[in-house]
Structure formats: C-alpha cells, structure tokens
Symmetry: C2
Subunit: 398 residues, 2 copies
C-alpha cells in the first residue's frame, strides 16, 4: 500500500546476501543422517563402507519416498538461505534397474519437490554404467544405470524440453569409476558448443586415482581432458577435486570446483586445496553433498578453516584485494550459480530476480557487529542458522 507501482518492504535489521546456491546435493541421502557413525562389520571406517550404507537406502526408496525425502530436504535448504540447488541425481529406475512406466518418474519427483518449494533447480542427470574398470554394475547400482548412453541422452533431451526460468538440466557422468572412456568422449561431443553444465565427481578418494591410472595411464582430470570435456571454458564442474597432481590444477583453469567440506570430512576424503585453485583461476562453488549438514555458511567457513589447519597460517584464501570471507561468500553464491548454468543466481542486481538470504543482525552470532565486520563474522565464524528470511523471485519463502 505504498501508493507506488511497486511494494515497499521493511526487511528489518538484516545482512542481505544473494540467495545461496547449493551446487552439489544428493537430497535422498538426508535419510542416513546420524546413521553411519557406529562400527559395523567389515572395513567399518572407510568411505566405501559408508557407501554401502547409502546404497542400502538408495535401493529401498519408492518414487513417493524419493519425492517426500527430496521435498523435506529442500525445505531444510530453503530455511537455511539456499534458493538454488544442483541436484546430482542418479536414482533413475526401479530397484531392479527397469525403467518405470513413466521413464522420468524419479527425475520428475525431484523437479516437483523443487517446484513445490519455489526453489530454482539445476537437475544434473547422472550417467552411470559400471562398477569400475571392466566390471558390470553391482546389483545395488542397477537403479542408477541406463540401458545405453543413447537411452540416457534421450532422457536428457526429453527433460530439457521442460526447462524454464526455475529449471535447468545438466549432465553428470558420475565419475571415472562409473563411466568408461568411449562414453565420456561421446558425452563431450554431444554437449560441445552448448551451454549445458557438466558435473562429475573427481578425485574424491586416492583409490579412484589409482584405478584410473591403472586403467588409462591418466589422472581422472587427465582422462576428462583427453575426452574433450574441458574444451569449453566454464562448463565443467569437478566435484571434490581433492587428490590432484600439478597438471590437474592447470587443467581446471577457467572451470569450476565444487567443494563440499563437511561431507569431505565426514567421509575422510581430505582437504580441497582451494587456495591453490583460487589462485590458479579456478572458480569455486560449495555443496551440501550428503546433506548430513545443510549449512552453506559453515561449508564456506570450513573451506577457509581447513586450509588454516593444513597451512598453519591465517587468511589462506584471501589476498590484499579480497578477504577470505568474500572468496567463500562468492563461492556460496555467484560461483555456485555459474557452476549450475544460471546467469543471475547468486547475484543481487537490478533487472534480475530477487533471490536473497537475509541474516538477522540481532542474532547472538552478529550482535554488536555491522557491515563488513558482520559479513566477516558470518562467513568466518557463522552458520546459516542466523538466516531469518529466504526470498526467491521477490517472494518471501521463509
């Protein structure tokens, strides 16, 4: 009721950030939060035994459960200031690996969950073909696998017809473990010259690198480069990218790395050398990955703080031009938007949709601080828990 042709709103005493962009999520994994921290039988304390626990859940979900889990997980994201998510989606078929009568049923479940909440979504459709070099998929991986690369691409093409201002489709060859060289080359040719984002798990575990060397005589990024997936600048996002060789840092210049620090700690993966990546012209993004935690502010803080532990120094990501807080806040907004193929996500600018995360300056975290100091306290010592409002497309959603 402002007498003007636009509404006038009182936002309160808040720090206004662009809506946070969660560039790497497996929403259904929220179902195993708190359920993987006790010793089981064999090999209890590795990434690979965690993966077995995760597979057990992945196998039992029906389409309604995928929808409900994803919606609830997305709701938790939205409440934490996330307004745009990249869902790295690999549940495609029924537990025996047979397509549903509606072949996009599970992808549609994810899309519906995002629409229900108003979240912007980049659905990263995963291609998964094998258990490793020369190995057919394990029974518990059959849900992830399409009958052929052509079937996969036909699904992607069909999903792309539904793209709109809330939805983008990208592709995600799962990892060098799960996809062989000919398929990677074919995917590179298929997407060449388009603006379709490509995401891939890269060098999360040392064993992945060893197996790739044994099969191809290349690092995972060396293989990806040889297949042509790095030909277009800015279209490739390497998720994790922890165990890199010198040449891998060069290969990534102009592309993105999505770090997921809390999952990478939980699973014993290791520390992303984000300082070296940032200095070497690699864009940074952040993801909640397994969704054991959903807190992109904490992920950003951990990106810097893990480097401080490793380097035994302070201000690792920052330089004279840009403090560490700005680097990690950029990763949680603009960097994620770029990785997910949005030109406006992660920006606050006249003429683009108002997606925003508002942080309460009266929260105990920020009490007594303003401006730059509040910003630094949020990103270096804070949490998404101080987010009091999420706005998407000019509408207050939380």
């Amino acid at each position: 009721p402002s007498g003007l042709d636009f509404p006038v709103r009182e936002l309160g005493r808040v720090l206004v950030m662009p809506g946070l962009v969660n560039a790497h999520s497996h929403a259904f994994q929220r179902a195993i939060r708190g359920k993987t921290h006790r010793r089981g039988e064999a090999d209890p304390n590795s990434f690979w035994s965690w993966r077995d626990a995760m597979y057990a859940v992945a196998l039992r979900l029906d389409p309604d459960e995928v929808y409900t889990l994803t919606r609830d997980c997305f709701a938790e994201m939205r409440a934490s200031g996330i307004t745009c998510v990249g869902e790295f989606h690999y549940l495609h078929h029924d537990p025996e690996g047979r397509p549903y009568a509606q072949p996009h049923r599970l992808s549609e479940a994810v899309i519906s969950a995002a629409r229900e909440l108003g979240l912007r979504l980049t659905l990263l459709e995963v291609f998964y073909a094998r258990a490793g070099a020369g190995l057919p998929p394990r029974p518990e991986q059959r849900r992830f696998c399409d009958a052929s690369l052509e079937h996969f691409l036909a699904r992607v093409e069909a999903l792309r017809e539904g793209e709109d201002p809330q939805l983008r489709i990208g592709i995600a060859p799962h990892s060098v473990r799960a996809v062989g060289r000919p398929a990677l080359e074919q995917l590179a040719r298929w997407r060449a010259g388009t603006d379709i984002p490509v995401h891939m798990h890269i060098s999360e575990q040392v064993r992945e690198n060893e197996e790739c060397q044994a099969e191809h005589g290349l690092t995972p990024l060396g293989l990806v480069e040889a297949c042509g997936l790095l030909d277009d600048p800015g279209r490739f996002t390497a998720v994790h990218a922890i165990h890199l060789e010198d040449a891998d840092f060069e290969r990534l210049r102009g592309q993105q790395v999505c770090a997921c620090p809390s999952t990478e700690a939980d699973l014993g993966d290791g520390i992303v050398l984000a300082d070296r990546l940032h200095a070497g012209g690699v864009g940074l993004a952040l993801g909640s990955d397994s969704n054991a935690r959903i807190d992109l502010v904490l992920e950003g803080s951990a990106l810097e703080m893990n480097l401080r532990l490793l380097r035994q120094a302070r201000l690792c990501l920052g330089d004279a031009a840009q403090p560490s807080s700005a680097v990690v806040a950029g990763a949680a907004t603009l960097g994620g938007g770029r990785a997910l193929g949005w030109t406006h996500a992660g920006r606050l600018r006249v003429g683009v949709p108002f997606d925003a995360a508002l942080f309460d300056l009266d929260d105990p975290l920020l009490r007594g601080l303003e401006g730059q100091e509040a910003f630094d306290a949020l990103w270096m010592a804070g949490s998404s828990r101080a987010c009091s409002q999420s706005w998407i497309d000019g509408v207050r959603r939380v």
Copy 2:
C-alpha cells in the same frame, strides 16, 4: 501443582544431555569476533598478528566493559546449552599494570557476570610474568602481570575464600613463554596435594616448542613434568596440546587435554591428535577459547571431523565399545567437568544438581530421528543451535 512434594515438568520432545561444560574461554575476546580476517600491515596471516589485534582490545577495556562483555558472552554460552564455564582469566590490573584499588576488581567482574546468569564458573586465575625467555613483559602485557608470584598467590588465596557451589578457583600459569621455570616449580609445590585445577596453554604453536627447547632443552610438557606439575593425576589440563612429541603423549596419561578446534583452525594452530590422546588414557575436554564461535556441539564434531581429514578415514575417535559421538559428547560434558574440578558437572544422576542442555527433536537437524540416531546426528553433524532449553540447578534458564 502436581499434588506431590516435587514439581512435575513437561520437557517436550527433546534429547536431554548433561549441561555442556566449556573448559576454556577468554570471554572478552568475543569483542574481536569478525575483526581479524582482513590483511593489515606486517605478518598479516599468523597467530602472532592475531594476538596483536587481541591485545589492542585487551588494553582498552575498563572494569565495566570487562563485566558487560563477559556477561553478554556468558549469556550466549548459556543459550547454547553451556551450564559451566572455565574462564582462563588474565586481565588483572589497569592498562599500566597497576593494581586497582580493589585488587580483584576484574576477577570479581567475571564472577559477577557468571552469578548474574546462574552459570557455574571455574575461574582460572592466570599467572603471567614475561614476554618470553629473558624478556620483561611488553607494555601491552602489563595488565596480565602480578608484581610477584607471592602477590599472585595472595590474590588466589583471597579469591578461594569466596568458593561456593557455583564457583571454583583454579590456577593457570599462562604458558611456557610467559612463565619461567622457578615460578612453575613454586606453583607446583604450592598446589601439591590439593584438588586445585591447573590449566596451561601447551604447544599451541611450533614456535613455542622451539623457544622452550632453546631455553630449557625440553618440550613444554617435558618442562611442566620436570617442575612437578604432573605429579597429581587428573589435576592438570593442557590447553591445545597440538605439537607433541611421543614422550609428551605419555606424560599426559591420566591428565586432561582441552581442545578448542574452531579457535585452533581460526589461528592456524593445527589439529589436536585426539584419537591418540584418547587411546593413550588422556581425558578430553572442549573449549570455545576465543569465542569467535560459541558452539560446543560444533567443537565436538570438529574434534572428530578434523581427524577424519587428517587420517583420511572415518570413525577416528570411536571404537567397538564407544562410538565417536559418545567420545566427543563426553568431552563436552564429563571431561570438561573433570578438567574444571567439579565432581558433578557434566553428569545426569540422582542426587546431583540438574544441569542440562535440551535439544529439540523437532529441529530440522534432528527431524525424523530418535534416540541413538538423534544423538549421533547431533554430535557428528549438528550444532548447539538445536539447543532449546538450558537448565542449571533445576531451574530453566533459557
């Protein structure tokens, strides 16, 4: 109104934990939250430049400001489920180092702040004598220094007369940098056979170890042992204890280490090898230290997660008998209570005061989880932000 001689209370759908014990705090440092993450002049990215920023604040505070800052910081602690705090207190005198007319004025400010909030307090009175081997205190350290060890002990004796069920007094030779060998020996003799807790910063930075070797030909813990401060089991708490040699782990058996993971990351200190300490019979406690963050649940989670990053494995603190979640929850409760000299703090048991932190099972963090799984989710992936009630001595305080 239960018709019984005790009240009947409905606590709601909550996970009940013993009140959290924050075993290492410098409350006034809350004043520099968010203010040390940009590059200044010389040596911008080290512990030592951070310390200069902290000293600048320490120098300007008057007694009323010490009280207000401490009270506000303690209030933030109480809201996060902390019911008992160890304040490692080194602001004793006026900025020129002259005792106030009331010589305990700043210690009383801390005690009053805790009483105002109902928090249990162990006031760890710090002895500080020098800037390093053979160096008098720097001007900005004069506030911390007593005229002599006798003056210090007279202050401690006087403060001990005020001990009661809410207040304990301990002593804290600041570090091997700040206290020479004769004073450490004298302090050991003074406290021998008593139950007075002794806390000391130990091996936080590599430089401290190097200087100690140069001065004494010993590691910091080697010196502490040689001075007799480790003679009584369970009375000595080493704060940080990051850069340890093999013999140092042995020296600590039966004593405590207080880890402060978020501060230790912020300051580039390094990772506490808590798995090795725990396996070697060293008790663990947790502290919020610089109070840039106040979240003991996050500190507990980081204690385990930093080890996962370092070891590139999962379930580092746990074993078949006790999962990692229980080890870190124990550090945040019972372990802290032991370090601060309380027999009941950190316990829930009939016959001891009801100090408790209640975590809301309907919080997004814990939604869908109960019992053991909620406990594991809280301590491995959670935050004190899910704390909805703090009880001290049977009274609901938040």
